[in-house]
Amino acid sequence: MINYTENIRKISSDLLKSGKVDVVIGYKSGTLPGVNEPFLAKTPEDADKLVWDSQCRLNLANYLTHRKDKVGIVAKGCDSRNINTHIVERRISREQVTVIGVPCTGMTDKTRLKELAGGDILTLTEAGGKITVKTAKGEKTADKNDLLQDNCIRCLHRNPVINDIPAADPVPEVNTTRNNDAIEKIEAMSADERWAFFDDLLSGCTRCYACKNACPLCYCPTCFVDESRPQWVGKGDDPVDVRTYHTLRAFHCAGRCTDCGACEAACPMNIKVRLLTGKLEKSCYERFGWEAGMTSDVRPALDTFTTHDPEEFIK
């Protein structure tokens, strides 16, 4: 990992020095241990603040939208697929972007880290696939692979799909199955059980919109939640409004979501919102054979069609 950080710093500083890019979007250490924050390095000196470890949960493609300058961007597998989505949706042009591709071995889950620590984390160190957290009470070490985020366990593309300057050699893909146990478990329930399951799941939502702010797919000038004439969804914490919000938010990501997990990583209430986007991702693959962000020249699933799309449900 130290090696990754050094490579990223060197590549970024070279890019900035040569004037090939005006800014490098990467991560720097956050104010709290265990959380890295997005950082825009604008000078070669800034590049020394860039870091890489297993706490880079946010999706940096989010910061590409509407940029007019030349941008270098640190991208793991999922981020690179979102960069592709941005290029397809003309949020940024391919010529503007230089991708510093980072082969990713997964990010740690913030909740699992907290459970491991059992208190406020004072320092966090990572070496040789082990993570050590220090709290006021003492020190605890665990295997990084036991702390991964759910989406990282299921990840099928750990290596960036667009990669102008690789920061390291590719890592082997670990997961080979598309099966999503969490979603299949819900599908096996009865309709009433499913309704109750999601009522319970979303009951903690405070409508802070962190999930949509962390999501690189959300860039409409006016979000449907802010529309008032007509008002499609109420603003309070009425369960039906909350359900409507989450349903529509997930639907807006249909065929575009790369399962990067930024939404869940950002959620202060630990709501598993990926259970909704994951279902749509699954449907897109089963119905249209579509996987988001794999190339930069094919329109996403809902922005294209074939004449023989499935329609057995239409009378």
Partner: protein
């Protein structure tokens, strides 16, 4: 439950299904008056927002009908609609909405008979399901009561 008369919000595309509804009326084909028709320019105009809004305000079911694939007035609007509906139907059913609450059909403006027949089918199916249980937003008064 036998005297339950469902309210079904029906989105009809201006060019085909709305014409079919008109033809069914002119031809005096009978179907029960459980539908509230909303005329839209194209089935591709339908956003999930509209379908959810209908359910939220107490509709017992939503039925969307447009031109047959290939016959869209705007050439390809209903192809996009078809993909949208596929995903929306799966997402809502996954969340616990009964399959009979959402209906989709292709009816051309010459198919008055089909219109009346599908209308009868939809209404019969929703009657069997009973009043909508989910996704209805209660007003503050109703919550207090």
């Amino acid at each position: 439950m036998t005297d339950f008369e469902p309210k079904i919000i029906t989105f009809l595309c201006n060019w085909c299904s709305y014409g079919a509804a008109d033809l069914a009326g002119v031809s005096r084909f009978q179907y029960p008056p459980n539908m509230r028709v909303v005329r839209v320019p194209c089935s591709g105009r339908i956003s999930p927002k509209m379908i959810l809004a209908a359910l939220r305000k107490g509709a017992d079911a939503v039925w969307v009908s447009g031109c047959h694939p290939g016959d869209c007035h705007y050439i390809e609007g209903n192809y996009y609609a078809r993909r949208k509906f596929t995903l929306l139907k799966e997402l809502l059913e996954y969340q616990g909405i009964e399959p009979g609450r959402l209906h989709f059909s292709w009816i051309s403006s010459a198919e008055g008979v089909k219109f009346a027949q599908v209308a009868n089918d939809v209404i019969a199916e929703v009657k069997k399901l009973g009043p909508a249980k989910h996704f209805i937003k209660k007003t503050p008064g109703e919550i207090a009561a």
